[in-house]
Symmetry: C2
Subunit: 475 residues, 2 copies
């Protein structure tokens, strides 16, 4: 095993070089949502390929399809970059996922500095993609480079899957991965994804769960076209009235889901889980203050964290077809579409959830006795993801964190979804781990995105130690 | 009294000239909503002044103020045109209101022909403003001109109030009228407005009532900014849930208003009214089919008409601040504003209605026990208008209709509001009558607006006879 002090010193000495690497990455404006920047994604992928090849990796750009933009123009999707470093049959193989595209950004959005320049200030590196996800991808490269320069033998084979469309729905990625299940992915023993954040600002963590999502539309049609409420009000059964009533029956004032059969699907909470949640470093008052919410659904830390990660939640997002502008409009909408979704957790399955939701709403509708046309349907469903955090893979991650930070990580989940996580788990049938290196206040997707220099450098150290630790474990 | 046969022949002979007058009016694109056309409203007013001066009227353009457009540009408001024809102290004075501006229109909206050319086809005159309200204003001029050319002495003094901002909220009109209460308006004995439509396509009518409007906002604030439902769902009390519940308590499935104290304010329906409603020519199946509604709240003609005109109705218009677009967005809105309104009828007063609505919602909110911030407030209120349809003024209108059509008019109301009606009644304290000449299918505000040539010509006759009949009555 490599001496950590030596490794750490080596990495620290290369801080300037590693920041320059991130600077180069940030200065390629690889915005996937904007057609004008499509070429920059290709550039970003080529540049990253070059970096990986310098490490000795064999790279292949897997061609993706075409994409029709909202304005009708058709663009080439950027390829997915596959890279392989080492193919020693006696070693296990780690798959690293990351993405090279970024969210849109402009000075006019309220950035203090040019989002496509890396600006160092107060120990922070500001720039679009600094933390999401160019910083973590560069940290992997930094870690491997350091180990190589120290002439340490990395005890595993490494594969990279780097895409350029993550911020735009990872178009095409799943298809490519599915196609490579029995080839590129066949020998993957562990997958590690560094594309999320610490729960707070000071304590590192590992994430082992994500909620799934079931999204629904309730459509109510009254008549052919919008009506003037003065001329027609009082003569038709109004759709908004039906819809508000249906949507008022979804959850209680305290947030309890009223849809029959939903709560029964949730896996029972174990005492062990409660202990795990109790240990998590999380300040509920800070959380509430950050949101500027008047009150949370509970003052209990474990309850709030479990509500975010461990239990389903239902949100009503809005209504399509009704008046949504400022001011006053006296319209009776002809057709309204209410939208809501459920975040789902183990052991909930989208199909079973769909059935409960549609049965429940159909039953309510028959009680309503409205002559309007009614329809409820799911628009998308994704399963929750849950990894075994006691798997040796997680122990390797934890060991790396302890080595660098001198503290055990918190074991957390995420309330949202990172769909590719589930894809990797399902295709490889092996353990997947989320190993964040950025802090909770990095402002991914927002103005003034940054990564702390300490997070970037410590992250590089964690990843290097983790690569070494993996030699001792199997998932 | 003038011989009707002679009058009718005279008017028929002038059909071509009268259509040319309307053509000239329609071809001035006096769109009040569009800054580019502001000058056309001034042109339209000048041209109409010239027409009225040809009849011998004394005209005055009453200066209006300025208007700030949504884009910040400031425009001059068009003046209000006052005209006086005759000031014989022994005669009573009629005030005629009309407007010279029109709704926007463009071929690209789906018009079959240029909206600012008057196109004659199948006995119809197509063009923006043909029925709303240039046709009726021209019919007044036609009627007076005919009587003058027949050398018939008109037994009343006539005043015109013609504005150019009706389709944009009649900005400034009320202020001008209030200022002229004791001067221009002081001797007005009757006011007649021809700016509405027959209930159907074949039977003429007189309208004696309009509903008022009370518009409300319910504001619920959860936190500072919109939240990701994956990350935060389950921890905050969601505003959409509170709002849907509140709005579900406003009316029953059958449309009954649940707000305490509202229905009690409605003036009791008399047997005489029921008889009046029974006589109205109205086909409920045609009405339902035109709307393409699946079912109305009742199959009874009197009930449907009373629901439109005689009873209050409550409509939920929509929600500001929630997701309203197509597709799926997983947002927890930070602040939502629900909007609904009540159409009010005698004896409801906006202030009393406001109190019932706010008291009711405040009570519901205290039951809800949500920690979110709640606010309910009225945004505007207008009183209902009801005229005495047995007043001799209405008898003069009815007599004119009987003379021209050989049938009694239906006595109807309108479910919407024409605010200036109430202004005239309140300022003059005299009887106001709505005398429509266009048919229900004239498509005011819509594509392919038209007036039937028969309606335009018969309307001219009705107005001429009405002017003569007024000599015999006092309101």
């Amino acid at each position: 095993m490599v001496d950590f002090k030596k490794l750490s010193d080596c990495i620290d000495k290369k801080q300037k070089e590693f920041i320059e690497r991130l600077r180069h990455a940030v200065e390629i404006p690889s915005v996937s949502a904007e057609a004008d920047h499509r070429n920059d994604i290709f550039r970003m992928i080529d540049w990253t390929q070059h970096e990986l090849e310098s490490l000795g990796a064999k790279c292949e750009q897997i061609k993706n399809g075409k994409q029709e933009m909202p304005d009708g123009t058709v663009l080439d999707l950027p390829p997915v970059l596959f890279a392989t470093l080492g193919n020693d049959k006696s070693k296990k193989t780690l798959c690293i996922y990351g993405h090279l595209d970024v969210q849109p950004a402009a000075l006019s959005d309220g950035w203090d500095t040019d989002p496509f320049k890396l600006i160092e200030k107060d120990g922070k590196l500001f720039g679009r993609g600094s933390t999401d996800d160019k910083g973590p991808v560069m940290a992997w490269i930094n870690a491997i480079q350091t180990l190589q320069e120290m002439k340490v033998e990395i005890p595993i084979n490494i594969k990279f899957v780097l895409e350029g469309m993550e911020e735009s729905g990872s178009v095409g990625l799943d298809d490519i991965l599915i196609k490579h299940k029995d080839t590129f992915l066949s020998d993957v023993e562990f997958t590690c994804i560094s594309d999320s954040y610490w729960l707070g600002k000071s304590k590192p963590c590992l994430a082992y769960g994500l909620r799934g999502l079931c999204y629904y539309c309730i459509e109510i049609a009254v008549c052919q076209q919008d009506l003037h409420s003065g001329v027609f009000g009082g003569t038709v059964h109004e759709g908004m009235s039906d819809l508000c009533w249906l949507m008022s029956q979804l959850i209680d004032a305290d947030g309890t889901i009223k849809i029959e059969g939903i709560n029964e699907q949730v896996a029972p909470v174990t005492d062990e889980e409660i202990e795990l949640y109790k240990k998590i470093d999380f300040n509920i008052d800070d959380y509430r203050n950050d949101l500027k919410a008047h009150k949370l659904v509970s003052d209990d830390k474990v309850k709030i964290l479990m509500n975010r990660w461990r239990f389903p939640s239902l949100s009503i997002h809005g209504i399509e077809g009704a008046f949504a502008g400022p001011g006053a409009k006296t319209v009776i909408p002809a057709k309204v579409i209410g939208k809501f979704s459920l975040r789902i957790v183990p052991n909930m399955e989208p199909k079973a959830v769909d059935k409960c939701v549609t049965d429940y709403l159909n039953k309510l509708w028959s009680q309503r006795k409205s002559p309007n046309q009614f329809k409820v349907y799911p628009t998308k469903g994704s399963r929750p993801w849950l990894a075994d955090y006691k798997n040796p893979h997680y122990q390797a991650g934890a060991k790396a964190i302890e080595t660098v930070f001198g503290t055990e990580p918190d074991y957390i989940c995420e309330g949202g979804s990172i769909p590719v996580t589930l894809t990797f788990q399902e295709l490889t049938q092996k353990n997947v781990m989320l190993l964040p290196i950025g802090a909770c206040d990095d402002m991914a997707h927002s103005q003034n995105e940054k990564i702390n220099i300490t997070n970037y450098m410590d992250g590089t150290k964690v990843l290097a130690v983790y690569l070494m630790e993996l030699g001792n474990c199997s998932s």
